[in-house]
């Protein structure tokens, strides 16, 4: 922890970065994001299994981008990111929302985080996104802290649920998702928490014509959730922030995970893993499957 704080302070003092986006402890089992701009802020930085937020979401926010302008120059932003959050950063770079040289990635050896704040970290409380996770070491980083630890082994519930849904018939599936989406209150917390939902103007905010109904009725809810899942298909890195942010506990990771599997099976592509490869939906291959088309 001290190493991290010292490193961050040095970065700030050397004038390499404008701010460090990190986590701060606010109670024993709870952290919150902090944008550290001074050496004093840096003394609050922590990293542990309660660092749940995906801080990459801040990188595309206009107000955070503004911070980079200092004394007539544009500085870097430093971000403390779990290995999975690094995927988000890479995905943002792949999609030209960021440049690699504009962001200083401080990462950690990660053994998983808890499902929610206030939980004791043991096998049972491992977050769902950590169960299938294979990157316990960051793929790209400028500095790595923390020791390597063993991740608890937990059975993959989401995958089991996807299998169960796929075994249902179409009518049952529709009914299942209708009841789930019925809960939606259209707060768009899933959109706000998602690091890849960076559109300046979301399609749901467009009113002439109104593509997605704004009332929290099952018809509009269905559209919104389809649109959200579709816009993230082939892009989602599976950080699970949308589901954690959802106040109504809609199983959004089911859809996201399904689309991740789909991309992996059809195109052997996983988003946010390689800076060199173009994005899946932003590119094409002449040899893509033509099965769908008559």
């Amino acid at each position: 922890m001290d190493k991290l704080r010292k490193y961050a302070t040095e970065l700030l003092q050397k004038g390499e970065v404008a701010a460090v986006i990190g986590y701060q402890q606010i109670s024993e089992k709870r952290t919150k994001p902090i944008i550290a701009k001074t050496a004093e802020d840096c003394t609050k930085l922590v990293f542990n299994e309660y660092c749940l937020n995906n801080l990459a979401v801040y990188l595309t926010k206009a107000r955070v981008k503004e911070l980079r302008r200092m004394n007539g120059t544009v500085l870097k932003l430093a971000i403390t990111a779990k290995p999975c959050d690094v995927h988000s950063v890479i995905a943002l770079i792949q999609e030209n929302q960021l440049k690699r040289e504009d962001v200083h990635i401080i990462s950690f050896n990660c053994a998983g985080v808890v499902k929610d704040f206030g939980m004791e970290f043991d096998g049972e409380t491992l977050a769902t996104k950590c169960i299938p996770c294979e990157t316990h070491k960051p793929l790209y980083s400028d500095a790595i802290f923390g020791e390597e630890k063993e991740t608890p082994k937990v059975s993959d519930e989401v995958l089991a649920k996807i299998d169960a849904i796929e075994k249902m018939n179409a009518g049952e599936r529709f009914e299942y998702f209708k009841t789930e989406f019925d809960k939606c209150i259209k707060c768009y917390a899933c959109r706000a928490a998602c690091p890849l939902c960076y559109c300046q103007r979301c399609i749901t905010d467009k009113t002439i014509p109104r593509w997605v109904e704004s009332s929290a009725h099952s018809r509009g809810n269905f559209s919104w959730n389809v649109v959200r899942a579709f816009h993230l298909s082939g892009r989602c890195i599976g950080c699970g922030e949308c589901e954690r942010a959802c106040p109504m506990d809609i199983p959004l990771s089911l859809l996201n995970r399904k689309m991740v599997i789909e991309a992996k099976e059809a195109y052997s592509y996983v988003s946010g893993r390689n800076l060199e490869t173009p994005t899946l939906v932003g590119s094409f291959d002449v040899k893509d499957s033509d099965e769908l088309f008559m």
């Binding site: 179409a170 399904k258 689309m259």
Partner: protein, 166 residues
């Protein structure tokens, strides 16, 4: 009043350069195809936003056809290649969400394939007819319109509301 026989409503999103011209050829060659299909011309199959599909279902479409130029034939060189990847995802997402296979179909029809256009449209119409009305989405629709009826103004009211606005 006798009850009208249900006929499927098919919406076809077709690209301007191939399928629309193909449909035109079908017409000028005097080929017959089901009148259930409503063509919506867009400039490229790559320009069809999946939200169009959802909107069409919301407005009561029973089946949807998306059709464009054959791969390598795109007027804009790569529009249909981009579309192909996107539809692949959208199709599997809709299937996962429980929208029956066959409600949304895709095809490549070139400008010279008037006959193929007729075949495709006939196939889609027959498929959807066999599946029956899109009950699942219709229920959502009925629920919605019962809750939020669309305002129906007669001429007098329109004039009144315009005067009020002044």
């Amino acid at each position: 009043m006798s009850e009208q026989k249900w006929e499927p409503k098919i919406v076809a999103f077709v690209c301007n350069w191939c399928t629309y011209t193909g449909a035109d050829l079908a017409g000028t060659s005097r080929l017959k195809y089901p009148t259930n299909v409503k063509l919506i011309r867009v400039m490229c199959s790559g320009g069809i936003d999946p939200v169009f599909i959802l909107k069409a279902f919301e407005r009561g479409a029973d089946g949807i056809l998306v059709s464009g130029c054959h791969p390598n034939d795109c007027h804009y060189n790569a529009g249909n290649f981009h579309a192909r990847r996107r539809w692949e995802f959208f199709d599997s997402l809709l299937k996962f969400l429980g929208i029956e296979e066959g409600r949304l179909q895709f095809s490549w029809v070139s400008a010279s394939e008037g006959k193929k256009f007729v075949d495709v449209v006939t196939k889609v119409t027959n498929d959807v007819r066999a599946m029956g009305q899109f009950k699942a989405y219709k229920d959502l629709n009925d629920e919605f319109t019962a809750k939020f009826p669309e305002p129906v103004l007669n001429e007098k009211e329109i004039i009144m509301s315009e005067e009020e606005a002044k």
